[in-house]
Every structure is written in structure tokens, then in C-alpha cells.
């Protein structure tokens, strides 16, 4: 039995390289952005050719982007070459790490935020046990405390609300 036959449909789906036409989604995103700027720019006022209004430049660039976005959508929809496989785990973990920093720094200060960020960022790595993640968080927190607060004396609050 070949390897391919032994794989489940889910594995096969995961193994299949995403198609480049996914790039058309990027084109759609840019098109939406351009429409927002055109709409907003018209609302701000275009002015006259001699005295361009606040909205003139966003409208000019918005129109250019709208045309280019349509071209991108058309080109990418016809493209069937293999594209890079997304790494959603790292995407989510790094996003969560930044979110953890934003929330914890606001409530508890810099050092707890550094600890939380380090632990959350390292979560997707299965080779590092949870104790290892906690120790890494502690080491990075102490290092940042020493460097940024102790040595560089940055005007950041190490701890808040304690």
C-alpha cells in the first residue's frame, strides 16, 4: 500500500499545497481598502485642481489601488501554481503573545507582561515542556527587568496594581 493510500482524507487535504489564487483574497482586501478611502475622501472634499482638498489625495490613490486590485484578482484567479503553506499555529501564537502583552502590561505592568508574552509565544512548541516554558518566561522577565529598568532606566512601570 502506498503512503498516499494510507493517509486519511484530512491528511491529504493538509498535505495539498494551497493554491496561489488565494492571493486573489489579498486583491479583494486591497479593493475593500481602496473603496473605504475613496468613499471617505469624497466625504472630506476634493477641492479644486488649483487647491486640492483634504480628500483629493486619498481619492486619487484609492482609484489607482482599486484598478490595481481588480488586476490582481484577475491575475491570481488564473494562477494555479503552488503557494506557501500557512503556519496558522505560529500566526495565532504570536498574535496571542502580543495580545497578552497588551492586556497584562495595562493591568499589571511590564515585567508580568514579559512573562505572559514569553509563555504564550512558546506554547505551540511541543518540545518545550510547560515547566520549561515557565522557566524561560522567568529568565526573560528577569533579563528584561535588569536591562530595560535597571540598566537603561526606560520610563516604564515594572509592576502595576500590586
Amino acid at each position: 500500500m502506498s503512503n498516499l493510500q494510507r493517509q486519511s482524507p484530512r491528511d491529504l487535504e493538509a498535505a495539498r499545497a494551497p493554491r496561489a489564487w488565494l492571493g486573489a483574497l489579498g486583491g479583494v482586501g486591497l479593493l475593500a481598502l481602496s473603496l473605504v478611502f475613496i468613499w471617505g475622501g469624497i466625504g472630506l472634499g476634493l477641492g479644486a485642481p488649483r487647491r486640492l482638498g483634504t480628500g483629493a489625495f486619498p481619492v486619487i490613490t484609492g482609484c489607482a489601488l482599486a484598478a490595481l486590485s481588480v488586476a490582481i484578482i484577475v491575475i491570481d484567479l488564473r494562477d494555479t501554481s503552488a503557494a506557501e503553506r500557512p503556519d496558522w499555529m505560529s500566526f495565532a501564537a504570536i498574535g496571542a503573545a502580543l495580545a497578552a502583552f497588551a492586556i497584562v502590561a495595562d493591568w499589571f505592568g511590564l515585567i508580568p507582561a514579559v512573562f505572559a508574552t514569553t509563555v504564550v509565544a512558546s506554547l505551540p512548541d511541543p518540545t518545550l515542556p510547560i515547566l520549561g516554558k515557565l522557566i524561560l518566561g522567568l529568565v526573560v522577565s528577569l533579563g528584561c527587568w535588569g536591562l530595560f529598568i535597571g540598566l537603561l532606566d526606560l520610563p516604564l512601570q515594572a509592576f502595576k496594581g500590586f
Binding site: 496561489a20 488565494l22 492571493g23 483574497l25 489579498g26 486591497l30 481598502l33 473605504v36 478611502f37 471617505g40 472630506l44 479644486a48 485642481p49 488649483r50 487647491r51 486640492l52 482638498g53 483634504t54 489625495f57 486619498p58 490613490t61 484609492g62 489601488l65 490595481l68 488586476a71 490582481i72 491575475i75 501554481s81 503557494a83 506557501e84 500557512p86 503556519d87 505560529s90 500566526f91 504570536i94 498574535g95 503573545a97 502580543l98 495580545a99 502583552f101 497588551a102 502590561a105 495595562d106 511590564l110 507582561a113 514579559v114 508574552t117 514569553t118 509563555v119 509565544a121 512558546s122 505551540p124 512548541d125 518540545t127 518545550l128 524561560l136 526573560v140 526606560l154 520610563p155 516604564l156
Partner: protein
Amino acid sequence: MDILSNFGDGLLIALQPYNLLYCFIGVFLGTFIGVLPGIGSMAAISMILPLTFYLEPTSALVMIAGVYYGAEYGGSIASILMNIPGTPSSSITCIDGYPMARDGRAGVALFASAIASFGGGIIGMVVMALLAPVLAALALNFGPTEYFAVILLGLVAASAVSNGSPVKGVATVVAGLMLGTIGVDITTGAERFTMGIPELRDGVNLVIVAMGLFGVGELIVSIRANSGGAPKNRIDYANFYPNRAEWKAMFGPILRGGGIGSFFGALPGTGQTVASAIAYAVEKKLSPNRGRFGKGAIEGVAVPESANNSATQTAFIPTLTLGVPGSASMALVIGALMIHGVTPGPRLLIDHADLFWGLVASFLVGNLLLLVLNIPMIGLWVRLLQIPYKYMYPTIIVLICIGVYSVNNNVFDIWLTLAFGWAGYLMRLFRFEPAPLLIGFVLGPMMEEQLRRAMLLSRGDPTVFLTRPISGVLIMITAALLVYSFGAALKSRRHARQSARLTH
């Protein structure tokens, strides 16, 4: 003679103890970050940028420049030892550097790379000292029409000629121009696209855009790429220095690489990667030993390294004299200068001569530091590459967070960095280059201002851009560049489709 005396004055500035210290810190941190595979000079500069806010403009620029060429050199170390280019421009060094390392000549390859980088850097510095004043004098006659045309040419060159699809490149640069309009309009005082968020009244901070797109975006990509760990490399310190024949073989390539790199570095849009690739191709054609190329030829390491480093220095020419960055890294340099209240452009050489010549002289000092620092520290960089990435990337993300947070002490900036970081990753996934977005973002406000002025002076006549000789020529070059890039892209797509049909 003027140049020599100005350079002498610049040397005195560069040798001030604090400038020397910041140059050293810049070169060290740049090399440190550049060594990490997948983390390029853009991410390195973005991470360092908030630290430079506390410095004098000259010291800040000297430090950023040190980070820039330090990261470029650091990228070569990962290329030679692991066959993973730390920066895109050092990918050419892999071709001969990695085979040399596999043959047990990693030490010689690293030494050759350091010497060639130094040689190329010095050639780039000389070209910058000679050419920048001439270009600045020419640009003194520019009015808003010419400035608009120069910026347009810079934007198109940086986006259409860059890697990937030219349509996507131009679209990304336009998106950057649009992002640059967020905030209060300086002419009318009206708020634009702030959605009522007070933090957006001053526009989106450059540090956030750069850290998000490059710091966070590159980090997400690098996690999987580096999960395999680094192969063990042993450096034989007894076999570290090139022999006489190898020194002789390197000399010509370093000079040629430096010359080619200087030329392409000064052109907007081409940058170090193109410079290294062309220098390598030329050297391969000229060399009597072309059969050895790709199998561990020392010339194959020396020539791209020299070209890469000289292009790094000459990229400052259009950036400082015209205010038009040829690459995203240079856009960050412009942003950093503006944060310090220094406007890049032809007046920079008159109003801030100390800054300009201090920077030029710091290239000499920085390249010497790079040499002195790296030859004894190669062992340290090798050990750094052995640290499992699972310990490195959480630390890097923390440094990014602290860098962004320290600018305004505001967590809103972190949320915005997260949005730009995710956007940066999705852009890479969807095959959009994030670099043009940053260039457009930095140049957007300048371009809008020059457009408004030009239209006011011409009493609303848009043909002024074509009828004034300098701007007319620049617009024609821009149009030709666009047509050429789109034509070349169409041709390569047709080729790819034909070869796909043949294989089926």
C-alpha cells in the same frame, strides 16, 4: 579638497566617544540579529529604531547605519554556515560559501566575507563622499514639480523592480501612500480616517508599521523555517586565514564587486540583492576559473559580499540627498531623521553637514569595527546559531513588544503592531512584498505635499509635470520602467505557462 576637509571634520565627529559607542552597539546588535536566519536588516532596524529616539540625530543615524550593515554581514554568517540566508541579499553568498564550509573551510569563508565586506564598504563610502554632494547640488534647483516626479520614480522603481509581481508591488506601494494619509491633514487641520481614535490623530507611527510588517511578520515565518535546528559546524581556527593564492584571487573580485555594488546601491529599487547577483554573474563570466564557481570558490564569496556592502553604503546617496529612499530600510532611515526634525534632501548637506559627513566617516569606523568585531567573534556567532530557536523567538517577540511600548507607553500601539504583524504575514502568504508598503507609507505625506504645491503654483494645470524638462524626463523614465516591468512579468508568465504545458 573640500571633500577631504569635510571628511576630516566628519571623522572627528565619528570618532567622538559616544558616536563610537553607538556605532559599536549598532554593528554588534545588527550582526547579532542578522545572524538569526530569516530575520533581515529591516527587522533589525525596526527593533533598534525606538532606542534611537533618545539619541542625537548624528548618533542615531550612525547607530542605524551600523545596525544596517551589521545585519547584512550577519546574514552572510548564516548563509555560509547553514546555507540559510540571514538576509535576502546574502543568498548569493550561499552558492560558494556553504560548499566551502562543507569542505571544512568555514573559517576561511567567514574571513573572506569579512574582508570583502570591509573592502566593499570602503569603496561604497568613497563613492558616496564623491557623488552625494554633486547630486545634492543638482537637486537644489528642484521645485515641487520635480520633487513629485522624483518621488514617483523612486516609488515605481522600488515597487515594480522588486521581487515578485510588479502589479502587486505597485498596489502595495499605493496602499502605503493611503496609510500615510491617516491622521490630521497638515494643510487643513481636518482629521482623516482616524475613526475617532485619538491615538491615530498623529497618524500611524512608523515604528509600529515597521515592527509589525517586518519584526512580527518575519518572526511568524521564521518559526517553522527554523524548527529543524542548526547543523553543527566546527570552525578550525588554525585554518582561518586565506593563503597567499586566495588573497590574490580575492583582490580583483572585491574591487569589481565594490564598483558594481556602488552603482546598483545608488539606484532606487535595485538594492543589495540585485547588486550581489549581478556582481556574481559578472565575476563568473570574467573569471578564468569559472568552473570552480558554485563548488566553493573564494571569489564567489568575496564578490557578492563586497557588492552587498558597497550597495548598503551607496543606498544612502538618494536617501539623504533627494529624500527618496530606494529601499524599505532607507525609508526607515528617512523616518528616523524626520522624527529627529531633520528633513532629508539637498539642503541636508548644507544645513546638517556635520550629520552627513559624520555618517560618511562612520562608515569607515563602522566597517573597521565590523572587521575587528567579527574576526574574533565568529565563534560566538556560530554558538548563537546553535541555540534552539524555541528559546530565541519568544525573546525576540518580547523585545518587539517592549520596543513598541516604550515609544508612547501606550498599549494601543501593541494592538496596532499585532494588526500590522498579521497583515505582514498574510501579505507574504498571498505573495505581496511588504517592503513597498513601508516606502509608500513614508513617502506618502511628502508626495501629497509636493503635489499640492505643484498644482497651486501651476494654477491647477496638471500638464506641468510633463512640460517642465526635469520632471517631464523623470515621468517618462517612470512610465518606461512601468511598461518594462509589466512587459517582463507578462513574458515570464507566458514562459512559465509554456513550460508547464510542455511538461504535461
